[in-house]
Symmetry: C3
Subunit: 310 residues, 3 copies
C-alpha cells in the first residue's frame, strides 16, 4: 500500500508516519524543491513535476494538507477518483466565511466579533481577515480611522473583526472513526512577521506565517477546548456526512475567554511543532502525520479502510 502526498506544508511528518507504519511513500514535488526532499531517506517514489494535479489520479491513499486546495482547487479534489484519507467534502469548510460560520454556530463555539463598517470607531483597533486560508497573508490590523483607505486596496472578500489583545492559539485534534475517539494532540502559537514588534517601536506589519511554536497550554483550559472539539465533530457529522475523519484544528484568540477565529479542515501546519499530548493516548508522543498513518493501518487491519477514506 502506498501513501501519497504533495511536497509542502506538513508532508515531512506525513512521510515519517507512513514509513513508521510500514507503508510505501510517493511524493509529488516541484523541480525546484527536489534537493531538500531527495536528501531525506523516507521517500520511495519522487514524482518530480510542475503539475501537482497529477496526484488526483494517484492509485495510493492520498493524504491532503493545507496546500491541496491552493494547488488543486476544491472542485477537482471533490471530483477526483483518487482515494483521499479523510472526508474530501469537509475540506471546503474552511475556505469561506459562510461555511466557517455555519460550522461554528452549529457546534456552539463562540466566534470573534465581526464588526460592520458603519460601527467602526476611529480610535479602536480592528483586524481585517481575508477569506480563505492563505498563511496569514493579506490579513492586517488597523485603527478604525485607517480602515477606509486600507480596505480600498483589497479585492478579495474580507471581514472586519474586533481586534483581540490576547494569546492566539491553534488547537490540534484527531478524530478517529476506528476508535470513535477524539484526541487532543497539542497547541501551537504562530510566528508571524508582525511579531517583529517585540523588538521595535510599533509598526503595522504583515501577518504572514513564518513558523509555529509549541505551547503547553495551561491545563485548566484544556477541558473546555476538548468540549469544543467534541461539539465540532458532532456538528460536522450532521453538516457534511460522514463528518470529520482524522485531523482538524480550531483557532482561538484568548483574552480570558475563547474567541474562535476559524479552523483548519485538514492537518494544520501548526502540528509541525512537536507536542507531547499524544503520549497520553499512545504511550509515546507522535506527530499528526504519524497518527494518520496509524489510523490507516488500524483500518486496514480491521478491514474497515472504507470508513476512513472518501
Amino acid at each position: 500500500m502506498i501513501i501519497s502526498t504533495i511536497a509542502s506544508h506538513s508532508s515531512l511528518q506525513i512521510l515519517l508516519g507512513a514509513k513508521n507504519e510500514g507503508f510505501q511513500t510517493r511524493l509529488y514535488i516541484k523541480p525546484r524543491r527536489k534537493a531538500f526532499y531527495s536528501s531525506i531517506p523516507l521517500v520511495d517514489e519522487l514524482v518530480v513535476t510542475e503539475d501537482m494535479a497529477r496526484i488526483l489520479n494517484d492509485d495510493g491513499i492520498v493524504i491532503p494538507h493545507g496546500s491541496f486546495v491552493a494547488y488543486l482547487g476544491i472542485d477537482a479534489i471533490e471530483n477526483s477518483k483518487a482515494k483521499f484519507f479523510g472526508n474530501k467534502r469537509f475540506l471546503k469548510w474552511e475556505t469561506t466565511f459562510e461555511l466557517q460560520d455555519r460550522a461554528l454556530e452549529k457546534a456552539g463555539i463562540p466566534s470573534v466579533e465581526v464588526v460592520e463598517s458603519e460601527d467602526v470607531k476611529p480610535d479602536e483597533l480592528y483586524f481585517v481577515r481575508i477569506e480563505g486560508p492563505r498563511g496569514g497573508s493579506g490579513h492586517f490590523m488597523a485603527y478604525g480611522r485607517e480602515l477606509e483607505e486600507k480596505l480600498e486596496k483589497i479585492s478579495e472578500p474580507y471581514r472586519i473583526e474586533r481586534f483581540i489583545s490576547g494569546a492566539y492559539i491553534y488547537v490540534h485534534f484527531f478524530y478517529s472513526p476506528i476508535m470513535d475517539r477524539l484526541e487532543l494532540f497539542g497547541v501551537d502559537e504562530r510566528l508571524v512577521i508582525a511579531d517583529a514588534n517585540k523588538r521595535r517601536p510599533f509598526k503595522s506589519l504583515p501577518y504572514i506565517i513564518v513558523g509555529n511554536k509549541a505551547v503547553a497550554l495551561r491545563e485548566s483550559l484544556l477541558p473546555k477546548l476538548y468540549d469544543y472539539g467534541l461539539a465540532f465533530v458532532e456538528a460536522m457529522k450532521e453538516l457534511e456526512r460522514p463528518g470529520v475523519i482524522g485531523p482538524f484544528a480550531l483557532h482561538f484568540a484568548y483574552d480570558g475567554d475563547f474567541h474562535c477565529m476559524g479552523f483548519a479542515s485538514r492537518i494544520d501546519g501548526g502540528s509541525n511543532a512537536s507536542h507531547w499530548y499524544s503520549a497520553l493516548y499512545w504511550g509515546k508522543s507522535m506527530f499528526m502525520g504519524e497518527r494518520i498513518a496509524r489510523e490507516i493501518r488500524m483500518a486496514i487491519n480491521e478491514d474497515r479502510l472504507e470508513e476512513v477514506i472518501t
Copy 2:
C-alpha cells in the same frame, strides 16, 4: 499502590508518570471536566465530584500540584492524614511574601527590588505583584504616576517591585532524597495575555498565564542557576524539616543579572512544556510527573517510602 491527584494544573504528566512506573491512578475531577480526562486511557479510577477535599482522605499516595492550595487550603492539607508525596509543610512557603523572602534570604538568592510607596518616581515603570500564586492574575505593570489610582482598587496584599526589562524564566528542579541529588530539569517562559503587545501598539494588559514555552537557556547560565537550586535545598532543610522533597521551581527576571521573583514549592505548571535536560540524568527525557513516579518507585524498591512522603 495507587497514585492520586486532582484533575488540573499538571495532572496529565503526573498520570503519565504513574502509569509508566506501573502504578494505579486515581483522579479527582469536577463534572464539567469529565469529557476530556475520560478520553485519556491513563486513569484507572475517576472520582467525579464537586468536592475536591475528598482527596484529603485518599488512601493512595497523593501528588500535590499548583491547584491544591487554591482548592483545599494550606491548613486542611497540613492536617490531612493522607500520604502526600513531598514535604506537606513546604507547600505554604510560596504563599506569602514573608515566607518567600525568608527562604530566598536564607539561601542567598538575589531578589527583585521591592520599592516603598514613598520612593516611587512618576516616570518609572513598576510591577505590582499580588501575594500568593494565582496564575499571574491581578499582577500588573504601571508607571509610577498611575500607581496610586490603580492600587486603590486592590484589596489583597501586594507589593511594588522595580520593573525589570529582561527575560522572565522559570527554572525547574527535582531534589531526590533517595539519590541525594539535585537535578535541573528545564526552563520555561510563560505565555501571558500581556504578550499580545508583540503585535499591537503598547497597552497595559493582564499577566494571566495562558501557557508555557520551553527555553533552551544559554548553557553558560546554568551553573549559576544550579548553585541557586542547591542553596535553596540547603536553606529549606533548616527552615522546614526535612526540607524539599521532589519538585520545585525558582522564578527569575534576567537582565544580565538574575533577580528572583519567587518560587513554586511544588511541581510548577511550566514543567508541562517539554524539555530535555532530564536525559542528562536518565538517558531519555522525562517529565517532572514521570520523575516523581520514578522517585516513589525507587523509594518503594529500597523500602524507604517514608523518606519521600509526609
Copy 3:
C-alpha cells in the same frame, strides 16, 4: 576513545551524544561551574582548571563549540596538535565581516544590506552589528538620528545594517563527509533581552542572548534554506579545504525574503533547543551533539577517521 570538550555553550548535548555512541568523555571546566556539571552522570573525567588552554594538548577527539574561539583564540586552535572534530581552519570564518562576506558571496546567499554612514537617514531604523560572535552583546538597534552619538562609544569594528522587521531564524545543518550528505537539523529563534519589549512600552534594550526556542518553520521555506546550505558547503570546499565537516548554522532575517546576517562555523548554541527534523534522516530525533558522535563512530567503523578530524 575519548571525546573532550569545554564545559559551556553546547557541551551538554556533546556529552550526551558521546555517551550514546559509547565514547569516554572528558570535560574541561572552571572551578565555579563544578557543582552543576558534576551532578550529571555523563562525564567520565572532569578536568577542573582555570586554564581552558589545557584542552589544546588533549589526547582525545576535541569537539569545538562557540566558546572555543573566545577562550583559546583562533591561532592557538589552528596551531594546536590536538585532534579536532571538523575543519579547524573553518572556525575563523565566522569571526570577521570580511571572511563572512567572502563565504556568503561565494555561495550566492543574499545578505542583509550594509549601510554606509553617509547614507543613514534620521528617521529610519538601523541595526549596528559588532564584529565577531559575542552572544549578541554589543549589537543594538537605533534610529539614524541616534547613531552618531551611540557609535562614538564603540571601540570594536562594527557595521550598520538596514533594520529588518521580520522573523530572525537560525538554521542548523550537519554536513557529513562520511555519507556525503547535508542534513537540515532544525531552526530556532533567539530569546534576547530586547524581547522584553513584548510586555512594555518600547525601549532600546540589549540584544544579549538568554536562550533559544525551537521553531517549526513553514515547510515551504525549507527547500530554499536547504539550497543555501548546499551552496555554502560547496563554497567552503573551495575557500577552505577540505571545507565544512559537521555542524554549521546560517542566520537569517526573514521579512518575506531571506537576508543572511551571518553564520556559525561550528555547532551553534541554538541547537540546544530540541527539534525533530533529524528523525527524517535517522528515524528518531537526535541533538547535533549526538550527530557529531555518530559521525565519529561511523568514521571509526569505516576506518576513515582522518576525514572528519583536523
